[in-house]
């Protein structure tokens, strides 16, 4: 019996030793000349762009990137869980509006000195760079840019008697066009004037706020601690969309749309005019005639929500040098022009807005030109306030568009409270 116990103990010890020995290799430093494989996470919303960049990098570099794509709705929880367990990948992209919170939680590595050494550092998308900066230190680079713009369906415009080459120049005109399409073509319930994500906080900020900026107003104070969403500039925009819904010019499931399918109706040719993400332009049916224009305020102006992802090196990465080699390559001329611009994506550098590919499509030139004009709002508590379905913003927006608009003041106080938590 004693021998048997001793045997078990020795076996256990050996197993433990082997396990510890095996685990130690993953986190250790690689010899300088050995190729390194770094891990990267991205969310599904910007999967196509990330995959193209990783594929191009892997085919031309000794170091390799292993990309994991995570469903957009689960991305934030996955990052939180991985951070808590100190299991973050070497690099991870994040919705740019969440970057200030991640930075404040210490999730990204300080890359100020590395960015300073880039010859094109002044051309990096300013709104993304602003949100990746905390206390004068820089933590992220722009990864993919996704701008909100108005798409209109030229075929439906023509059938409805509208000028197919002339998109709306004001939000009021947008409403008139949507109403006309609805009245002329919407009788059988297959075509609708417009559509938006009526039960999706992130959709509202992405598609409604540019109309406020275009009118020269703001939705929050600069510190992101006070909501201005009960001010006339915002309530005027809500009112126009409310009237569209009351007239029945919005798709029948607008009020229930939670976000996952809000961009799926336009490509089917069912919608006259609606706000859309610029990244979807390259995915539209080839034979569909689509016009693209900037989002305007009630009486004019133009703006956009400069969304998309920023990317940084995680603070727990053991491969910072290899990770930076990849990150700096993604914003190089080669990657931005030959990978991003070639596929009609918005480039992450203002100095490359006019390039050999964008010139082929005036719509892409327009979108690229909006990067400098649009805004990316800053707030440390952005996600829990505006994106979270249980956050206070969604209630405010839904009451303003579908319910009791008089509650805007009271609910705006809740939004401010959440921003200050």
């Amino acid at each position: 019996m004693r021998r048997r116990l001793a045997g078990i103990a020795t076996l256990a010890l050996l197993t433990l030793t082997a396990a510890c020995g095996g685990g130690g290799g993953g986190g250790g430093q690689q010899p300088a000349d050995e190729p390194v494989t770094i891990t990267m996470w991205t969310r599904a919303a910007t999967q196509a762009q990330s995959e193209r960049l990783v594929k191009a990098y892997n085919s031309s570099h000794k170091n390799q990137v292993k990309l994991t794509v995570i469903p957009t709705d689960n991305y934030q929880p996955r990052i939180a869980a991985a951070a808590g367990a100190k299991q973050l990948p070497d690099v991870f992209a994040a919705d740019v509006i969440f970057v200030p919170n991640y930075t404040s939680q210490g999730l990204f590595l300080d890359i100020t000195d590395r960015i300073a050494a880039l010859p094109f550092k002044d051309g990096l998308a300013p709104s993304h760079m602003k949100l990746g900066t905390q206390d004068g230190r820089q933590y992220t680079l722009p990864h993919t840019l996704d701008l909100s713009v108005w798409f209109w369906n030229k075929d439906l415009y023509e059938k409805a008697g509208l000028d197919p080459e002339q998109g709306p120049k004001t939000l009021k005109e947008f409403a008139q066009h949507a109403t006309t399409v609805q009245e002329k073509l919407g009788k059988d319930g297959k075509v609708h004037g417009t559509f938006f994500g009526g039960n999706c906080g992130g959709c509202y900020v992405f598609t409604f706020w540019p109309s406020v900026w275009a009118a020269g107003a703001q939705v929050m104070n600069a510190e992101g601690t006070e909501s201005l969403n009960d001010q006339p500039a915002m309530t005027d925009v809500f009112k126009i969309y409310r009237e569209l819904h009351e007239k029945g010019a919005t798709g029948p499931t607008t009020k229930e749309e939670q976000g996952p399918t809000w961009t799926g109706f336009f490509p089917k040719g069912e919608i006259g005019v609606m706000p859309m993400p610029s990244t979807t332009l390259g995915m539209m049916p080839a034979d569909m005639k689509i016009g693209v224009t900037a989002i305007a305020g009630p009486d004019g102006g133009e703006s956009t929500f400069v969304g998309g992802d920023s990317i940084g090196i995680s603070s727990t990465s053991q491969n910072a040098d290899a990770a930076w080699e990849f990150l700096s390559w993604t914003v190089s001329d080669e990657a931005q022009v030959e990978v991003m611009a070639k596929n009609k994506d918005v480039v992450a550098r203002t100095d490359l807005a006019d390039n050999k590919y964008s010139a082929e499509d005036p719509r892409v030139v327009l979108i690229n030109s909006l990067v400098g004009k649009g805004e990316t709002p800053y707030a440390l508590r952005f996600g829990q306030t505006f994106n979270d379905p249980q956050g206070p913003w969604l209630r405010l927006a839904r009451e303003a568009v579908f319910g009791d608009a008089a509650k805007a003041g009271e609910l705006n106080a809740e939004v401010t409270k959440s921003l200050q938590q």
């Binding site: 934030q76 808590g84 210490g106 999730l107 039960n199 009020k255 249980q390 839904r398």
Partner: protein, 305 residues
């Protein structure tokens, strides 16, 4: 004749030196139990202690935790969303437990007796239980979607409705659509539990009741239900505990909407941890929910024993 089983006492009874404890049966027992004990300690007790400790601290995603007890507990009462979710979850639990028990018992009684074709129905009723719960929620989300789901066009083709049905459009519709989802998924599984209880009732008891002139209703209320009590208790405990911990169906199917009308307690905990990164606050709410669940289960076990 009397059969006596003696416990072996080693060589001690034969004048040999006493055996140290780890060589006896007691030590062997400990060794056999050790793998399970290690699993329980690592996967249950350690996380439980960690959650308790987290609930007493301000716990960032990365970096050092700072002790702040009892702040995480005192702020629970100020969390209006959590307070609302307690009432909603209790309402959901009552409705689903009553309906699930009734439907499962009805199905079990239908397929209780062996007759031709009964195997087909037992399988058909149980099959939804083989589908993952998250998958079920997603399935209903797709099936009931007015834009691309098949149910709405079918109803319109049959002339039942003229326009899209908003299955999750109002608080009541969202709740009852979810209840339909949960019934579809769990009625068969609960039927199976009750079926084992029904088949454990000796047929002689029914025969005796019949020969005493009892009718069907009397047999159901005086024989079936009382003898089914332990099985019903098990089903009730599973149903109530599962309902109080409801998450998948509301997270995936209704997303807590419309207007936060279907937010369950676990959803609020999830939001605190993974959207607000308030890990300490989420741990405190989890501890409160755990204590409430343990208390409720102890109470139910005593009442239903």
């Amino acid at each position: 004749m009397t059969l006596t089983v003696r416990r072996p006492r080693g060589r001690a009874g034969h004048g040999a030196p006493p055996v140290s404890w780890w060589r006896g049966r007691k030590a062997q027992g400990w060794l056999y139990a050790m793998p399970t004990a290690v699993i329980v300690a690592v996967l249950f007790i350690a996380p439980l202690l960690l959650v308790l400790w987290m609930s007493l601290n301000r716990w960032p995603l990365l970096g050092q935790a700072t002790f702040n007890a009892p702040d995480n507990y005192t702020k629970i009462a100020d969390n209006a969303l959590f307070v609302d979710s307690v009432f909603f979850t209790l309402k959901y639990t009552v409705i689903i437990t009553v309906l699930l028990s009734a439907v499962a018992l009805g199905l079990a009684l239908l397929v209780q007796e062996s007759r031709p074709g009964v195997g087909f129905f037992r399988t058909a009723f149980f099959l939804p239980g083989a589908v993952g719960f998250a998958a079920t929620s997603l399935l209903f989300y797709g099936m009931l979607n007015a834009d691309f789901g098949p149910i709405d066009p079918m109803l319109r083709a049959l002339g039942v409705t003229d326009e899209p049905v908003k299955w999750t459009g109002t608080p009541n519709m969202a709740l009852f659509s979810t209840i339909a989802l949960v019934l579809w998924r769990f009625a068969g599984f609960n039927m199976l539990i009750l079926l084992t209880g029904l088949q454990a009732i000796p047929t002689e008891v029914y025969e005796a009741a019949r020969s005493d002139g009892a009718n069907r209703w009397q047999i159901f209320t005086r024989i079936t239900l009382p003898l089914l009590r332990p099985t019903l208790a098990l089903m009730l405990i599973l149903s109530i505990t599962g309902s109080l911990l409801a998450f998948d169906q509301f997270f995936i199917f209704t997303n807590g909407g419309p207007d936060n009308s279907t937010v369950s307690m676990v959803m609020v905990i999830y939001r605190a941890a993974f959207f607000r990164f308030d890990l300490g606050g989420a741990a405190a709410m989890s501890v409160v929910l755990l204590v409430a669940l343990v208390g409720l289960n102890v109470l139910m076990m005593r009442r239903l024993r």
